[in-house]
């Protein structure tokens, strides 16, 4: 989904349904494509795609009622917000620990549950915040500082 804008930043909003494994990952694939279409460099679109995928799959596997992925693209930044309204995370430090996972067995059979999703999100973001409360839900905010590049994808040469 792409909202009409007039000049300024572009906002892409994707809704993700809880338990919808059949479409899991497809919003992220679309986000990556949309970012490339908006002129975001391949490396940055890849980082955003990975962040979105991990966020999307956590919405599919853990959220009570699904959630949203909101991507805002401006000249210098790609901001990604992944938000749901529950159940929330009891111990955020534990959830951020590599290898920690409460993935159910149906998800583990599909190759989820390595306990690396939130780590991958952090590794691909230049800035990362997570807010979560039992009962009210989880909100992840990520920022990618875009590489400067021209239309061909090459970084500009600085002449002095």
């Amino acid at each position: 989904m792409q909202e009409p804008t007039h000049g300024g930043p572009r906002r892409l909003v994707h809704h993700v349904r809880a338990g919808d494994i059949e479409h899991g990952g497809l919003a992220s694939a679309q986000i990556k494509r949309q970012l490339s279409g908006l002129g975001v460099a391949p490396q940055d679109a890849r980082r955003a795609g990975i962040i979105a995928f991990e966020g999307e799959m956590n919405l599919v596997v853990y959220s009570t009622n699904g959630g949203t992925i909101t991507v805002t693209v401006s000249e210098k930044l790609v901001d990604i917000e992944v938000a749901d309204e529950g159940p929330g995370i009891e111990d955020i430090d534990l959830a951020l620990t590599p290898g920690f996972s409460t993935a159910p067995s149906w998800a583990r059979e599909l190759g989820f549950g390595a306990g690396m999703g939130l780590c991958n999100i952090q590794a691909n973001a230049d800035w990362f915040e997570i807010h979560s409360h039992i009962g009210s839900g989880t909100r992840i905010l990520c920022r990618i500082e875009r590489r400067r590049h021209d239309a061909s994808g090459h970084r500009p040469t600085t002449r002095t």
């Binding site: 990952g25 497809l26 992220s28 890849r46 795609g49 990975i50 995928f53 799959m57 390595a114 991958n120």
Partner: protein, 114 residues
């Protein structure tokens, strides 16, 4: 080396994405935990896995992989193949197991290693 070269040399079946076999393969990655693939596979890698559900296509697309090599023979469901086609992700199939495939792929991608 292109996907086409690898398909020929390893005798693979192309079950989706036949239009993108001229893509260059930067290396290989083998694994079945999706987050591990997203953390460690490099762009252009050919990914060897036993997973064959639709999320595999999403992982390959966001990670910018050149294609997916499915070990163990069984083809994925038609809906997965349709998604792969739509996302421009070639899906290659072999009867061999992941260990065997990784060894053979390594031999042709990194021929200098004894």
């Amino acid at each position: 080396m292109t996907l086409r070269d690898i398909v020929r040399q390893l005798g693979l079946e192309v079950v989706a994405g036949a239009g993108w076999l001229d893509r260059d393969v930067s290396g290989g990655f083998s694994g079945d935990l999706l987050s591990n693939v997203l953390a460690s596979a490099r762009p252009g890698n050919l990914w060897i896995t036993i997973q064959r559900h639709v999320n595999v296509v999403g992982v390959a697309q966001v990670a910018g992989l050149s294609g997916v090599l499915l070990a163990g023979g069984e083809p994925p469901a038609a809906a997965v193949l349709a998604k792969a086609e739509e996302m421009a992700i070639p899906i290659l199939l072999s009867r061999d197991g992941a260990f065997e495939l990784a060894g053979r792929l390594h031999r042709i991608l990194v021929p200098d290693v004894r």
